[in-house]
Structures are given as structure tokens and as C-alpha cells.
């Protein structure tokens, strides 16, 4: 038996999914389209952003929406020096865990920054909105560092 020749082929697998949002995710995404950020209040009083449909502690359906701020504090971050093809920012960037003012949990999104050295945990950051908004998580283009925020 002869060893097999290596036969390979590039291909792209596409799943053209659409998804229903339901009222909670829909409220959040509608808010993003309007340039607003809504969270939902959990059973323990915490404001969850982005909103969870069901309480993470009790499993109860949630629906008390709370508008939160568009600036917040950087809880954690990492520096992507070589963005991957799928990433939305193609210059070196950071991923950020940001707790928006008025929210009690963080959310994860892109953070645009000139360099890793410009970023500190605890820094103040703000939302940079996409020019065209359609009711999708990418209506938030990314976070950016706020002026004079470096400690």
C-alpha cells in the first residue's frame, strides 16, 4: 500500500442564521440603535448589562429595565497585538471588560487604544457608537479611553 498523497481544500462553512430576540434582548438592541444602553434589574437588585432574560440566581423572568451610563470602568483587558481575520478591529486592539456607570456587572467588547501601555485596569472608558446603527451588538463600535483617564 502506498502512502496517501496529501489532498486538501480550503472551504468556507456558512450558517446564515437569523435569531428572534425576545422582549429582553430586543429592548437592549433597540436601545443600542437609539444610542442608549439598557440593563435589567435582577432579583438581588443588581443591574445586569447586557440584560439577562432570566435571573442568574433565581431563574425568574426579568423585565425591569434600567438605562445605564455610556461610560464606565475597565475591570479587565487584554492586548491583541495581532488581530485575527474575524476581529472587527484590524489594528492592534484590546478586549475590555467594562462596568458601565449604573451597572453592577461588566460587559465585554472591543477597546480601541493607541498601545497596551496607554491602558490601565480601572481606567475610565466610554462607548464609541457605530456610524450606522441597526439594532445589533456592533452598534457599539468599541470602547475608547477617556481623556485624562490614565491614573
Amino acid at each position: 500500500m502506498v502512502a496517501a498523497e496529501l489532498l486538501s481544500q480550503h472551504f468556507e462553512l456558512g450558517f446564515t442564521y437569523t435569531r428572534s430576540t425576545g422582549p429582553v434582548v430586543g429592548k437592549f438592541l433597540t436601545g443600542l440603535r437609539e444610542g442608549r444602553v439598557y440593563g435589567v434589574r435582577g432579583s438581588d437588585g443588581r443591574v445586569l448589562v447586557p440584560p439577562a432574560e432570566y435571573d442568574p440566581l433565581t431563574g425568574a423572568a426579568l423585565g425591569e429595565f434600567v438605562e445605564v451610563g455610556q461610560q464606565g470602568r475597565l475591570l479587565s483587558w487584554c492586548w491583541v497585538s495581532e488581530p485575527r481575520e474575524a476581529h472587527h478591529l484590524q489594528q492592534p486592539f484590546a478586549w475590555a471588560m467594562v462596568q458601565l456607570d449604573g451597572a453592577d456587572v461588566a460587559m465585554i467588547h472591543y477597546l480601541e487604544a493607541p498601545s497596551a501601555e496607554a491602558i490601565r485596569s480601572g481606567a475610565r472608558v466610554g462607548i464609541s457608537w457605530a456610524a450606522e446603527r441597526e439594532g445589533f451588538i456592533t452598534d457599539i463600535r468599541c470602547f475608547t479611553l477617556l481623556e485624562g483617564a490614565a491614573p
Binding site: R19, L29, P50, C78, A86, H87, M107
Partner: protein
Amino acid sequence: MREIAVVAYSQSPCVADAGATNEVELIMPQLQAVYSQLGLASAQDVDFVCSGSCDYLQGAAFAFVAGVDALGAVPPIKESHVEMDAAWALYEAILKIRMGHADSALIYGFGKSSPGELPIVLSQRLDPYYLAPLWLDTVSLAALQARLLLDQDLVSERDMAAVVARSRRNAMDNPLAQLAGEFSIEELLAEEHFVAPLRRADCCPVSDGAAAMVIATVEQARAWGAPYARITGIDQRIENHNPCLRDLTDSVSTRQAAAAAGVHRGPVDVAEIYAPFSHQEILLTRALGLDDSTLVNPGGGVLAGNLMMASGLSRVGEVFRRIVDGKAGRGVAHATSGPCLQHNLVAVLEGA
């Protein structure tokens, strides 16, 4: 409750690219190996078969069905599959035996991750509204976790490098490892960051391969006459899918699973911990409540080679092997699934 034992185990080498090897060709040598350890002819000789794999890794729809071609399912066999690490296939098989529906089971896991961009493929496990559309890759997610540990002084970059150095050194005696060698902590710290604060060496490699195991009731194990190790405890717990709703500096689910599996009811000679990133080994060692008396990942762990969907099963298999080789009397195996240690399984194995 029926006592259950691991009786056979085999794993392929971890390779960066298995090349011209399809899923059947990956699985079959491992099945043949466990059959030969017990003198079985095929999967017909066990009562139940359960596998773990994920078709998205290689982008081949229903690859897990094609994998059944390795079994010899004529006449039909009792078979099941989890779209998870095969450690959870082991869990399903244990339940099947405990319920009295089977006396023996074959478990296998396989992963051919090289055809795709694994950290990006795995990003699609995340919340489909809030995170998956961002293509938040697994390395970046782990880096966010590492930063939290570093900022709170729970771990240092030196601690992480020490984990890597030990893994690489231990892997030198492991012929199945993909990455091995003698590296000093200073050498590792001198490397540039990859996704800061992680360096490339802090991240497990992407590996292709497969693993297989046979478990049985202790009575059946004795009948086969092969050395065995008893599974005296197993438990698994899952946390919220939103990483920001979890304390990423701890692994509560691992703590709970460890307590429920009875990790602390005796000395732990060896622990095989599924930690794809160096800081996670430290975090998990603490969550499992282990101290210096336990030998952790003596074969290098998954930092030396990570078979997605099989490495968790292999952790159990490695503990089994050390027990039957007489190198340990009691050991703990841990498996993880999901982003940033979302879902964890802990098993306790003891000598016959």
C-alpha cells in the same frame, strides 16, 4: 450503588496536524489498543458506547456519525454521543452502568482541530446575541481572566511561567506530548506577550488526536482479568454562560464538583487537571483544594498537547494509568468545557 472501574485506556500522540487522517483513522487505532488490553474483538463486546466530539472543529457536518464507522455497528449497538469533551461521555456511561442498563462501556473522544482556526471556531459557543458576533476568541477570553488574577495578586506572571516550565519538563518523559523541553522561568518570561498578559507558552497548543477508554463494573473488570482502578467519585457542575456573571478568579463549579466527588476523603497522590492556560492550572489546583503533597500533571497536562473533546477523558485515563502502574494509590482527574472554565467535572480514582 454498583462499583465501576476503568479497565483500559489509550491515547494517540498529540500532533499539530494529523494531515491525511480522517476521524475514523484517528479513532480506530485507539479502539484497537483498548480492545487488545482486554482481549475484546470489537465494540460488540461491550454493552454501551458513548463518544465526545464537536463537528465544528473540523468543519465536517456529522463527523461524529462518520466516527461510528470505527465501531463495527453490525448488528446494531447501543450508542450515544455528547457534543462535549468525552469526559462527559464517560459520565453518561457511568450513569448507564449505575442504572443497571449496562455492565461495560466503551468511551472515546476525538478532535481534528487543525483544519480550522480553533480559538475563533470556539468563539461561536458564546452568547449568540452579545458575544459570538464579536468573535471573542478563547485565547483573549482567557487573557481577560488572567489579568483579573494578576491585578488581584492571586497569580504572578512568574507563577504562570513556573507552570509552563514544569509542564514542558514533565512532558519530556511523555512520548504523546506535542511540546516538551527544558525551559527556565527567566527564558519563558523573556518571551514577548501573545495576547497580553498571556504569552504563547501560557496557552495550550492546538492538537489533533483521539483517546479511548473502557469502563466496567468491578465484577466485569475482574472477569476480564485486566488491572483496573475504581472510580470512587464523579461529579460535574456548570456555571452561567456569561463570563462576567462569574467570579473568574475562582472556579466555584470545580469546588462543588470536588466536594461532591469526595476529593478530600483521602490523600491525593496525583491530579490530572485540564487547564488549557497556565493561570488556570493554579486557579484549579486551589479550587480542587490540593497542596504540595499532590503531583500535578506529571505528563505535562494539556499545555503539552490539547486534544479538544478528548483531553478531559485523557485526564481520567492518565490517573488510571498511574494507579495501575503502581505509581499512585489515589488520584483526581478534572475536565473542563466551555469558555473560561464554565463547566467542570471531577473524578476520583482509587486502586483495586
